[in-house]
Symmetry: C2
Subunit: 186 residues, 2 copies
DNA sequence: TTGCAAGGCTAATATAGTTAGCCTTCACGG
DNA sequence: CCGTGAAGGCTAACTATATTAGCCTTGCAA
């Protein structure tokens, strides 16, 4: 291996992720990323194919971290407690990474990124199955994830502008949902 | 008024909206919009401040239409039927306008656009109140909207990749939610 | 009839992403 | 020890796009 590398793909991804959160998606330039890791913009192309590729790598990184956070949250053994812990961890992660969370879940996002989160789907699905019964596990899981994702997205977008307590709305929704998915006639 | 205008703000907004849906957000250039309305790109600036402003106008247009669609759906007088009709209309609208719907609800979107939908919030809130009771109307409405928005967003993003019937998941979620928001102890 | 402003246009500028092509550094085989 | 080749920098150049500057024509209104 020749001349000392002055940076690495990992450093580029980390810088891109940080800048993305700090300045938003439109303000993220190859030049800024290059500055952050101490090289010139064209040198980035030795590591990433292009700007889209950098986005993909950043979002995969975010997805991996989210997977870890979710898996780490489900430890109590009690399904309701685990579901509460996982949804809270999910929301906490989104609040801590608002820009990249939103990008990761956005439509035109890279398929690769969202695919990563399939890994934690299995854990989640198992826990939901204990509440909703095996027949309704998949739709029940989708109901909870859709609600959580929608709530968080709207919250981050500032869409809850009719006043009221947003925390209370979260607790209300989660409480009602956890009851609602319980199998009444399985 | 001097020389015959060759276009109008409305035509520009309509062309922008159409191109946005057809080609996606990254492919929408001022040049393409100008071509679509029969002028040169710089002439657009006589009507819109800049590209962001064009986006704002397009998303406001979408929001206005969505408001109309939702209001038109709530006509039966029965709260459950109205809620089913409104959520179905909401989902149908999103499916018909996937790109602009997503943009409209996205975080960094223009505050103006989402603000328009506040108008239809009132109708929706009233109907939810008949189910959930006045005390829980706001959190209950937020629960349903969050679920619907999250479900649709994930659906459009292709995030439901574990197989299963997506229609069934929608029906399951909506059915359980409509029951769940009913006031058990108001 | 003359003035003036709306609303076109071309030309020019700035910013990004990206490519081309070169140069230096060292690990390694002879 | 020495030559070499590829990794990994860099500068310069190219392209696309938004946007601004400044001009020209048109036709209503005084």
């Amino acid at each position: 291996m020749p001349a000392h590398p002055q940076t690495s793909t990992a450093a580029i991804v980390a810088a891109g992720r940080r800048l993305l959160e700090e300045r938003g998606v439109d303000a993220l330039t190859m030049r800024d990323v290059a500055d952050a890791v101490g090289v010139r913009a064209p040198s980035l192309y030795k590591r990433v194919r292009n700007r889209s590729d950098l986005f993909r790598l950043v979002l995969e990184d975010v997805a991996d971290e989210l997977t870890g956070v979710l898996d780490a949250a489900a430890i109590s053994g009690d399904p309701v407690a685990d579901l509460r812990a996982m949804t809270a961890a999910y929301r906490g992660f989104a609040h801590a990474n608002p820009v990249t969370y939103t990008l990761m879940m956005a439509p035109q996002a890279v398929p690769g990124a969202t695919a990563r989160s399939v890994r934690s789907s299995a854990t989640f699905l198992n826990i939901v199955a204990q509440q909703a019964g095996p027949r309704h596990a998949l739709p029940a899981a989708r109901t909870i994830v859709a609600w959580a994702h929608g709530f968080i997205t709207m919250e981050l977008a500032g869409a809850f502008r009719l006043g009221g307590d947003v925390e209370q709305a979260w607790d209300f929704g989660l409480g009602r949902l956890l009851t609602a998915i319980r199998s009444p006639a399985d």
